[in-house]
């Protein structure tokens, strides 16, 4: 069973990610459908506990604005770990559209990005996306990457007051 780091714990990942050009009948089991499929079929997709939506890096979370309240699972794809668009998308989903469900990073990310990803609102990470070899996992536990820094200057999803306001307090 593939694994997922979710809310700082490693759990089984039974979710499928359907391809971007997916069309037709949904497979058995929980799955993330691509944004385009969701927009075309959302009236027939009424099971938020087993159907989530994934966005690619160039797609606009604005298109989901009206649906976010109905969804419990969202995912954002990183075509490459150097492509940082997903960080902005995640903040918009959390801060502007107030999404409180699971927000998953899929595609290609590296462990040293976990701290920034979680600050921007991701709370679930596919381990296969992290492309980890086991040795690296041993030397530094995945959960530890989420706590690399105890000080942050900026306001972000996980800390709504910037340090300059906390300093003054």
């Amino acid at each position: 069973m593939p694994k997922l780091l979710k809310d700082q714990t490693i759990v089984d990942n039974g979710w499928q990610i359907l391809p971007k050009d997916f069309d037709g009948v949904l497979p058995e089991g929980p799955c993330f459908v691509p944004l385009g499929y969701w927009l075309a079929n959302k009236h027939n997709l009424q099971s938020p506990e087993s159907i989530g939506v994934w966005l690619d890096a160039e797609q606009e979370p604005e298109q989901l604005a009206d649906d976010i309240g109905k969804l419990q699972h969202l995912a954002v794809n990183f075509p490459s770990f150097m492509d940082g668009r997903g960080f902005s998308i995640a903040r918009l989903i959390r801060e502007r559209y107030q999404f409180s469900g699971e927000l998953r990073a899929i595609g290609h990310i590296v462990p040293d990005q976990l701290f920034y990803l979680s600050r921007c609102g991701f709370n679930a990470f596919c381990l296969d996306a992290l492309a980890l070899d086991h040795e690296a996992e041993d030397s530094h536990k995945l959960e530890d990457y989420l706590a690399t820094f105890s000080v942050t200057y900026q306001a972000c999803v996980n800390e709504q007051q910037p340090l300059f306001r906390r300093r003054q307090a």
């Binding site: 960080f87 701290f115 990803l117 070899d133 105890s150």
Partner: protein, 554 residues
């Protein structure tokens, strides 16, 4: 200067620990090259032609005597005993060992220095005016704003993987000395009719392959909105900047493709959604930042009497007078001045300093200028708060140490990148060309007669030597494995910013001094009383230069 509190200290310590672990993992084969690459870049470590190169931030150009002594120690212990000041107020080590970089960063952290985001596709070291806080033409000291931006941009989780590097410069003066028009974001501190502080915001300036002058997208941004507005610009760029071609990935390309109006509107829409969020600056926060940049304990001095003494000394000692004319700048406080320490002696790469020179500079700063030094983007240093009465003594000391080359602002006070001698990106060498020019133009009276001329040399089109904004720009190019040099005329990075135009076909390195001499001869022949080189060139255009140079060469 800004002084770290326990938050800053904890953060920088955790950053060093993170990088030590990343380096260990890399050396143990647990981190592949392509993953380690952006991690080391965001700590300042490049891998260059001959060795790694470590770029250390000097935020907005302010460095203390203590920090300079640590830099000297580091160059001795970990490098070959010298370092290089860059055109963006940073300092670089050319020969560190990759394995030792975590130790270097540990030693730097102890004196509140770091290399965070000094390279890579992220927000770089914020730069400013070397005369911040001391020049009479200042509207407001830009450094508190720079420090607020430094903290905001440091380890910003949303903007660490941008399409490309991102540079911000701030000026608080009426005359722009921070080249804000050629930065991704340029900020000019202003006061409106009600005496409220704000910023004029420029975007999309930059050098490199597609040089561009920044355009204003906000004429007056009230100061408290600084960070929310910057965040809106960065978010629009992060989402929509091109990522398919690294040569088209800078924000200037996006601004051009959309037009400035469309870009400004997109930023405005984004910003209005976040306006008044907790990142809005409060009066207390601004006051807190300003408290680090108060005036030092100036003495009350009779400036006129000091001035009279200096004038009589200048009459006796011509060399002192010449040095003072070129290398000493006025100060807002009577009886004080700012002094350039030139890093452009003939035969030394522009911006290079040895370990013992770094220590000597620290000593001069302790003795004459409240233990602080400023780094200029012309690759010189400035002692910002020197008593006029101590100028003769400082001149003697600077002369002995080799920092008194009286050529600031002249042709031989060149900006020059490390070039093909050091840099893996370069197409051609730049340092030997600079040296040949210094050797040819060694007559100070001739240089003074020519007046202010900015000569900028880059070894490739990435333009680290800012050749596009030199009044005379020289660009190294590679043609079938041979090094050639293209000459451009008419650039400027000041208030009248403009990009130079190419003179014509490129030259061999050995031809460059002759070509320069001909260019200068045309200027001398054609100038009208009081005209600078740039004035004359703009008036007569490029054609007379072209005709004369290529006719003679043929």
């Amino acid at each position: 200067m800004y002084i770290y509190d326990q938050h800053d200290k904890t953060l920088i310590g955790e950053r060093v620990a993170q990088y030590r672990r990343q380096t260990d993992d890399y050396l143990a084969g647990k981190l592949p090259d392509e993953v380690f690459l952006p991690l080391r870049l965001q700590n300042g470590l490049y891998v260059q032609r001959l060795a790694p190169m470590l770029r250390i931030n000097i935020p907005y150009g302010m460095v203390s005597a203590t920090q300079l002594r640590t830099l000297a120690h580091i160059t001795r212990k970990y490098d070959k005993g010298y370092a290089h000041f860059t055109t963006r107020q940073n300092i670089q080590l050319n020969w560190p060992q990759l394995e030792e970089v975590p130790d270097i960063l540990t030693e730097l952290a102890a004196v509140e220095m770091q290399g965070i985001q000094s390279s890579g596709s992220c927000i770089r070291n914020v730069t400013s005016d070397e005369f911040a806080g001391i020049n009479a033409d200042e509207i407001e000291d830009p450094r508190p704003w720079c420090e607020i931006i430094r903290q905001w941009s440091t380890l910003h989780p949303e903007f660490a993987f941008l399409p490309r590097k991102f540079k911000i410069a701030v000026t608080g003066a009426k005359t722009d000395r921070a080249a804000i028009q050629v930065h991704d974001i340029g900020l000019q501190v202003l006061k409106n009719a009600d005496n409220e502080v704000g910023f004029k915001v420029l975007v999309g300036g930059g050098l490199g392959r597609s040089p561009a002058i920044g355009v204003a997208i906000k004429d007056f941004l009230p100061a408290k909105h600084l960070l929310t507005y910057l965040e809106a610009i960065l978010r629009v760029y992060n989402r929509y900047g091109r990522r398919d071609n690294k040569y088209k990935a800078r924000i200037k390309i996006l601004v051009k493709a959309w037009t400035a109006e469309v870009f400004a509107d997109k930023v405005e829409q984004e910003w209005l959604q976040e306006i008044d969020s907790p990142s809005t600056l409060t009066d207390e926060v601004i006051a807190h930042a300003k408290a680090f940049f108060t005036s030092p304990a100036y003495e009350t001095i009779d400036g006129e009497s000091s001035e009279a003494k200096l004038q009589s000394l200048a009459a006796e000692q011509v060399a002192f007078g010449k040095w003072r004319d070129r290398n000493v700048i006025g100060h807002k406080v009577p009886g004080y001045c700012a002094v350039h320490l030139s890093l452009k002696p003939t035969g030394v790469a522009p911006g290079d300093v040895t370990d013992s020179q770094l220590e000597a500079i620290a000593d001069l700063a302790d003795r004459y200028s409240f233990s602080e030094v400023r780094v200029t983007h012309h690759q010189n240093l400035v002692l910002g708060d020197v008593k006029l009465s101590e100028l003769p003594e400082l001149w003697q000391a600077a002369k002995q140490l080799g920092f008194a080359t009286p050529s600031i602002g002249t042709l031989v006070d060149m900006i020059c990148c490390p070039g093909g001698d050091f840099c893996a990106l370069a197409n051609a060498k730049s340092i030997p060309v600079a040296e040949a020019i210094q050797r040819r133009f060694d007559d100070l009276d001739y240089l003074y007669d020519l007046g202010d001329i900015k000569l900028n040399i880059s070894g490739c089109m990435n333009a680290c030597g800012h050749h596009h904004v030199g009044n005379i720009g020289i660009l190294g190019v590679d043609k079938k494995g041979e090094e050639f040099y293209q000459v451009q005329l008419g650039g400027s990075a000041l208030d009248d910013a403009s990009l130079g135009k190419v003179l014509g076909p490129s030259f061999y390195a050995h031809e460059i001094p002759d070509v320069l001499e001909r260019i200068l001869n045309i200027y001398v022949e054609q100038r009208i009383e009081g005209e600078s080189f740039l004035d004359t060139q703009r008036r007569i255009g490029i054609a007379p230069f072209k005709e004369f140079i290529y006719a003679k060469a043929a």
